[in-house]
Symmetry: C2
Subunit: 297 residues, 2 copies
Amino acid sequence: MLNVRTRLQAWQERIEAVLEDVLPPAATHPTKLHEAMRYSVLNGGKRMRPLLVYATGEALGIAPEKLDIQAAAVELIHVYSLVHDDLPAMDDDALRRGKPTCHKAFDEPTAILVGDALQALAFQILATHPRMLALPAQRLRMIEQLGQAAGSRGMVGGQAIDLAAVGQTLTEMELENMHIHKTGALIRASVLLAAYSAEGVEAQRLQQLDHFAKCIGLAFQVQDDILDVESDTQTLGKTRGVDAAAGKPTYPSIIGLSASKMKLQDLYDEAMNALVSLGESAHLLREIAEFTVKRIR
Amino acid sequence: MLNVRTRLQAWQERIEAVLEDVLPPAATHPTKLHEAMRYSVLNGGKRMRPLLVYATGEALGIAPEKLDIQAAAVELIHVYSLVHDDLPAMDDDALRRGKPTCHKAFDEPTAILVGDALQALAFQILATHPRMLALPAQRLRMIEQLGQAAGSRGMVGGQAIDLAAVGQTLTEMELENMHIHKTGALIRASVLLAAYSAEGVEAQRLQQLDHFAKCIGLAFQVQDDILDVESDTQTLGKTRGVDAAAGKPTYPSIIGLSASKMKLQDLYDEAMNALVSLGESAHLLREIAEFTVKRIR
């Protein structure tokens, strides 16, 4: 068996090819919009959500070719949210993964439309893409789940909570509530979309996977906040310290840096505990959790 | 039988109640976002697309209660596109239907998020809303159609074409291409989503309905351009002459006002011709076409 890093890398290459395939070609009219969509999606992201889809599939015995479209759909939603989040009216970020953000590389109206079009594409491919192999009832359940996770009571709701929190003093619980919506919902959707691709996954198993996703979703955010304090702009690939400068509440600003690191460890342990009964089949989910807490950007 | 105006009004009231029902309550957390979503959707719009859904259903013998969610989904997509279109980076409009636009009544980040959340909701309700009565395979076909119509090769693509056209000299054909994408795609989707709710609608019938939708979609746009020249701000409910002032190509600016009026009449005639074989069952579709060309705002 290949070592885990190599296998994660293979999935990363796999999802790049799938995304490349589901996106309209750059030469398709209107070309500027399609170029901007491809620029925003095909930019060397970490692909954490697609990796979670594939790794959950492995834990449940579902082959990657049955999960390609689900993985692409969650990534399209994630990318659209980044494009909109970077807009001048939102976080006003100039750099993303070391490259100019969409509205900087193109322009603001194009960035708004890129996000809008990527969201529509995500739902469209779940419904009827030729590479989508799940049954109709399973697809509908996935669309429902993704809509819920992406919508006003999920990711977009989290962004609204985030906006309202600027300059406010939040409690740790309020901060957690924000992250559970803003990033947690889509990370949980990644695991659930994979699980919905199999028939008859037990409720208890679903709950374990969901709890794992909830923990690493939050861990990812805590690590993000720690990196925003400790890392430098070059390593990070985005402007360092922007969250603190923008008056955004972060774990270090609320509970301090060392308590944040302890929280990160606790979440990691809890995520690992959730996977115990899955045994060896979950080793790539464990690797993703480890990567989440040890990453430097 | 009630007269047609009364029946259209009954459908308008019907869709208001459905939209009210599918939108999260204003008291749902985060409340500002949900208030802004409801403000943007429940604002006394003409509901042309839902009316088309119901009227197409009537022409095909499909009861309104089987079309409520389809009607709501197309309207949610339409409203989200207006909210984003009105943004400062886009058309920068302060008035919509006589009321402050979403980013004026709330703020710009909220307006971005409102649009994003409404789009997610549209797909979500098509997938699994309890009032959705279509079969799984039909729902998937609708989601595919709506995704296509709303996406980069449909409505959003049309907005990109529109942006690129500002200050340019377009031919009539280029202008038509823009409108076919920007507004035509969703109007056609309204008719198709209704048709997909029935089993076994003949290809020829689908084509007739689709052609009808294409003609009135374009007629609506021609009339919009004429009104932008001829009407006043108060009647229009939005700032008059903005398109011309923004250097946007319009039918009057390209082919002149009187040729625009002739084109409007031609499109109306063609739309009516497309319905001939549908006989009496299509009388409300005819009424909508007539309303489209005779409306004063």
